[in-house]
Amino acid sequence: MKPEEEVASLIQGKLQSSVIGVKTPGPRRADIMVKSGFHRDAVSVLLEGFPQTMISTITALDLGDEIELDYHFWCGRTEATIRTEVSKSRPEIETITDIIPGASLYEREVFDLLGVIFLGHPDLSRLVLPEGWPREQYPLRKDWSPELTERSGFSENKPVKVGTVWAGGGGGSLVSVVLGPQHPALHEPERFLFKLDGETVVDVEPRLGYAHRGIEKAAEQLMFFQDVHLVERVCGICNVAHSMCFCQAVESLGEIEVPARAEYLRTIVHELNRIHSHLLLLGIAGLEVGFESLFHYLWRDREIVLDLTERLTGNRVMAEFSTIGGVRRDLNPILANEIKKGLSVLKGRMRFYKKVFSVDPTFTARTMGIGVLKEHEALKLSVVGPIARGSGLEIDVRKHDPYAAYDEIPFEEVIYKEGDSWARLMVRLDEVAESIDVITHAVDNLPSGPYRIRVSRRMPESEALSRIEAPRGELLHFVRGNGTAYPERVKIRSPTLANIISFRQMIKGCYVADIPAVLASLDPCFSCTDRMAFVDVKDDRRWIWSMNEIKARRERKEP
């Protein structure tokens, strides 16, 4: 039996009449609609039947009178979606965080943006919207528009009182230290509140949303082929992954078959992007532990990849290479040769770096045994990408849910069992070597034929889900069409959201000095707006000042 059928029949067998409908729209995809109130049973059945189940994300759509909730899981080699509905007038549903803790951030996101209350959630607070955002306004609902919020008086320039951030107590000897949003250790803004006992980290609370730009909402206002470019800008570094994932989702939606040459070309650019991202991160990891020379060398070698990408796609970073129906440019044989030459130079360099990373005493002292995430914890928290593979979990979308040309190109899945920062960095290092092999193989075996087919702008009223292995882990795009050229809903779950939840687990018991090293091995990728959190040391108040307040204070001091 095919894996998706296995999952579908398992749930149908156990839940019988609570299941309203079952679909298997494609290989490794299953959709199961359950009656409201039975989603917890469905999730439990999945976890019992397939212990290696991980939650991918929770999508929520505004259907008018109801809000549909889609729980996406990766289990038994299938991406299974458990679907249920709640009424908009009373949007409450029970949480699943007691069954699978990794769902906590996704439920908060749905609560923040659509107003669904998850009963029993340990900490249902805002995830992406700012603190002062008016209570009853949910941006992802269809009846919301920016004017509504403006009229309600919300403005970024008003100071907002924030209650005590810490839920737990904390003894007198514990010190709270805020890291970020501006900090040299972070290359993108996020706020972490650390509780420290001397130099040991006792707990940490991350606050996300500094980079929230409302891309999912904006995607509904643009046509599908324009959305490719919007979605590409979710992340600067893994832009190829986002555009490719989106294109794949839309092609699945419209049942478009992409030519083989395009699949191979997409694979090539995707892997080039992966090499770029990993080299960038390895350099940053070196910098965070104080190894500046390594940073400079790695980024110098990264230039090889940037130049190749520029020649292939027209830009060093923003590839804008995939489009719905194929890719936008072709690869000529001269460039193919250049790619192979450049990459073989890089491969030699990677051998050098591997030695340094493995043997250098100062580097290994800072990363081995630091920030350990054990395999069962990684599974429960549903982490993805190099973090999971560094803890021994075998989840590489390219291997288990192949897309593009990966089912035809042989490569090794890189797994390390140690689970510490060192393992996570080594996973990335070895993946660079693997990517070089993949690209060389793809370039040598490039099928002939067209590289692009023209498609209609309109997409049918259907839905599709696409998963790819971005450099940071599993990236998921869920697209629903409504018969027009504009999407009904675009849902993006980027890998860092899945991984950030593991930071707390990793950093407990580590020293302050380990924070940058662990963060770097996590490879977080967020982006942001401008906020400063203040902690008044005298009476432990916390509040946030806007830019105007800060400027006002500064002027008072000037003579």
């Binding site: 470019h229 520029e310 804008e320 440019r329 005493p361």
Partner: protein, 126 residues
């Protein structure tokens, strides 16, 4: 603490100390760009048929159709443009083509506009 024995890095560093720096001394030495680098677009007014596809398809809404001698022609707001080149691809008459010009930084926003009268704009005065 283990002995500071780092043969690989020491050799690497010593070699680098006596090699030429990798830095490219921009602006004294400019990079060699590939021909299909996505720089500022070039507009050919004689080819334009005023179909408006470029303006309609632009994801960033950076193209405005303005009237130039009784016809409607595209004006590209380079400060909004994301250089995706959808306009270049979709133009049925290739009235918009690409170039490798990338030095677009300018002290005034008014300069960052590609007007359809075929003049070069947004250039720095060096």
């Amino acid at each position: 603490m283990r002995r500071l024995e780092l043969p690989q890095m020491i050799k690497e560093v010593a070699v680098a100390l006596f090699s030429k720096p990798f830095t490219r001394q921009y602006p004294f030495s400019k990079p060699q760009l590939p021909e299909d680098f996505r720089g500022r677009q070039i507009f050919h007014p004689e080819r334009c048929i005023s179909c408006g596809l470029c303006a309609r398809d632009c994801p960033a809404e950076a193209i405005e159709m303005i009237e130039v001698s009784d016809r409607e022609m595209p004006m590209i707001h380079l400060d909004s443009c994301i250089f995706c080149y959808i306009c270049v691809e979709n133009c049925p008459r290739s009235a918009l083509t690409g170039s490798t010009f990338y030095e677009l930084a300018s002290p005034s926003k008014q300069d960052l506009v590609l007007k359809p009268d075929g003049q070069e704009t947004g250039q720095r005065g060096d």
